[in-house]
C-alpha cells in the first residue's frame, strides 16, 4: 500500500462513524485486489458492510437484488487514442458495453462521465456513437471531459451530446425519485488552476436545487473529481466547495467522477465521492509517476485496470450501492477481483 495514498485514505476516513465496519481494512483490501469497491447509503449514512475479493460472479446480482433501479457509469473512453498504453480503445469500450449488456439486471440508463474522445474529432465521436448503439440501455447521459472540448469551445460536443443543456453542457433530470445533476468542470480553465465550474454554472446549480426536499437523493456527476485528490496533477475542482455547500442539507448525495482512470472513494458526512475506471487506459496513482500520463501495463493485465461502475438504488433505504467491475473478470486471474455487495440495513 503506497504510504501517500494510505495517508490520503486515512485522512478521508477520520470522520466516519464507527458502525462496526473496519473501513481501513476494507479499503486496504480494495487496494490489494486492485479494483472494486462497494458502499451503500441508507438514510444518508454510509453503511458499507462487506467487500469480498472472491465473491464470484453473483456480485452484481446481489447488489441489484431488490434494487428499484440501476444505472451504469462509464468514463474516459478516449476514442482515437492509439498509444502503447492501449492501441485499441474501441475494442475495450466494446468489451465494456458487452459487460453492461450481460448484466443480470437491466440498467435504466448509462452515464458517461467524459473524455468520450481523444481529440474531439468527428470521426472519434462517430466511432463512440456506433459502439454505444449496441448498448442495451438506450438512454445515455453525458458530461464532457477536457478532451471533448479541445478546439471549438465544445461546439461539436454540444451539438452531438448537449442538446437542451445549459452553458457548456450542464443539466439536471429526475429519475424515479432521484435528482441527477450533470456538471461541467472542464471549460474555460484558468492558468495554474484545476477543474472549474464557474460562476454562471454555480448560480444555476443553486437555483436548480432550490425547493427540493432534503430527503431527495442527489447524484452529481462531472468529469474532473469534485473533491481534491491531487492538486499537483490538477485532480480536483477549484470551486467544488461552493457547489458542495449547496447540497449540504440533503440526506444522501452521491458524486460520480472520472478523469483519473482509477477507482477512488471518499465519504464525508452524507456525501459519498467516487471515481470510475476508464474504458481506455489506466493512469498512475497520485504522485507515483512523473506525470499523470497513460500508464502502460502488460497486455494481459489491461482488462483488470479498465472497467465499469454499476450503481443500484434502493428506494426503501434511500441508498445507493456502487460496484466497480474490471472488464476482464471472467476467470482471467486467480485473484478474482470482482467487487461484492452488501444489503443495506
Amino acid at each position: 500500500m503506497p504510504d501517500k495514498k494510505q495517508d490520503l485514505i486515512d485522512q478521508q476516513l477520520q470522520d466516519l462513524n464507527n458502525d462496526g465496519v473496519d473501513r481501513r481494512g476494507f479499503l486496504k483490501c480494495m487496494a490489494w485486489a486492485g479494483t472494486g469497491l462497494v458502499w451503500t447509503m441508507s438514510g444518508g449514512i454510509p453503511v458499507s458492510r462487506a467487500f469480498a475479493k472472491n465473491s464470484g460472479k453473483d456480485a452484481s446480482k446481489d447488489a441489484s437484488k431488490g434494487a428499484d433501479f440501476s444505472f451504469v457509469q462509464i468514463s474516459d473512453s478516449h476514442i482515437g487514442f492509439n498509444k502503447p498504453a492501449n492501441p485499441d480503445v474501441t475494442a475495450t469500450l466494446q468489451t465494456a458495453i458487452n459487460k453492461i449488456n450481460a448484466m443480470p439486471h437491466k440498467s435504466d440508463f448509462i452515464i458517461h462521465t467524459g473524455d468520450l474522445s481523444q481529440l474531439s474529432k468527428p470521426s472519434e465521436f462517430d466511432t463512440l456513437d456506433q459502439a454505444l448503439k449496441g448498448a442495451s440501455a438506450k438512454q445515455i447521459y453525458f458530461v464532457p471531459g477536457e478532451h471533448d472540448m479541445l478546439s471549438d469551445n465544445g461546439e461539436q460536443y454540444l451539438e452531438r451530446y448537449g442538446k437542451g443543456t445549459k452553458g457548456s453542457g450542464w443539466y439536471s433530470f429526475d429519475h424515479k425519485g432521484v435528482h441527477f445533476v450533470g456538471l461541467v468542470n472542464v471549460a474555460n480553465l484558468k492558468a495554474g488552476g484545476m477543474g472549474s465550474l464557474g460562476h454562471e454554472q454555480l448560480e444555476w446549480f443553486e437555483a436548480d436545487l432550490k425547493g427540493r426536499s432534503a430527503s431527495t437523493p442527489i447524484v452529481l456527476f462531472a468529469h474532473i473529481p469534485l473533491w481534491t485528490i491531487y492538486p499537483d496533477w490538477g485532480w480536483g475542482t477549484d470551486d467544488s466547495e461552493q457547489a458542495l455547500s449547496y447540497v449540504k442539507r440533503f440526506g444522501s448525495v452521491t458524486v460520480l467522477n472520472g478523469h483519473i482512470h482509477q477507482v477512488m472513494q471518499k465519504i464525508e458526512g452524507k456525501v459519498s465521492f467516487h471515481t470510475a475506471m476508464s474504458t481506455a487506459f489506466p493512469q498512475p496513482e497520485p504522485g507515483k509517476a512523473p506525470s499523470a500520463g497513460p500508464m502502460k501495463v502488460p497486455a494481459d493485465q489491461l482488462q483488470r485496470v479498465l472497467g465499469i461502475t454499476d450503481v443500484n438504488y434502493l428506494v426503501s433505504g434511500r441508498s445507493l450501492a456502487v460496484v466497480d467491475s474490471p472488464l476482464g473478470d471472467s476467470g482471467s486471474s486467480a485473484s478474482g477481483n470482482e467487487a461484492a455487495v452488501v444489503d443495506p440495513t
Partner: protein
Amino acid sequence: MTRRNVWVAGLAMPVIIAMLLLAGSTSVTANDQPSAAHAGVKIDNFSFGPQTLTVPVGATVVWTNSDDIPHTAVSTEGLFKSKVMDTDEKFSYTFSKAGTYPYYCTIHPKMTGKVVVQ
C-alpha cells in the same frame, strides 16, 4: 559538432587539438545566433521544459509535444494560442517585443511556463 571534434582530437597531435579547440570556440559563437533565434520548449510529462525560456527579441520559439496526451501552449494574455498539439506535433511563435510572456496548457492548466524576451 562537439562530438566530432573530440573524435578527431583523439586521433590528432596536441598542436592540432589546440587548433581545433580554437576553431571549436569560434564555431560555437557562430552557431549561437541561429540557436538563440530558434529556441525550443519540450512538452514532456505534463510540463514545459524549460519552464522559463529566455530569448532575444525576434526569436522564434518552437514547442514540441513529446507526451502521449494532447497539449496546448496558450498565452495567458492572449498574445499567442497554439492549436491542439498531439504527440510530436509542434507550434511556433516569433517574439518581436521584449517582455515576459506567461503561457499555459488550456487542457491541463496546471502546466504553466513563460518566455522572457530580452
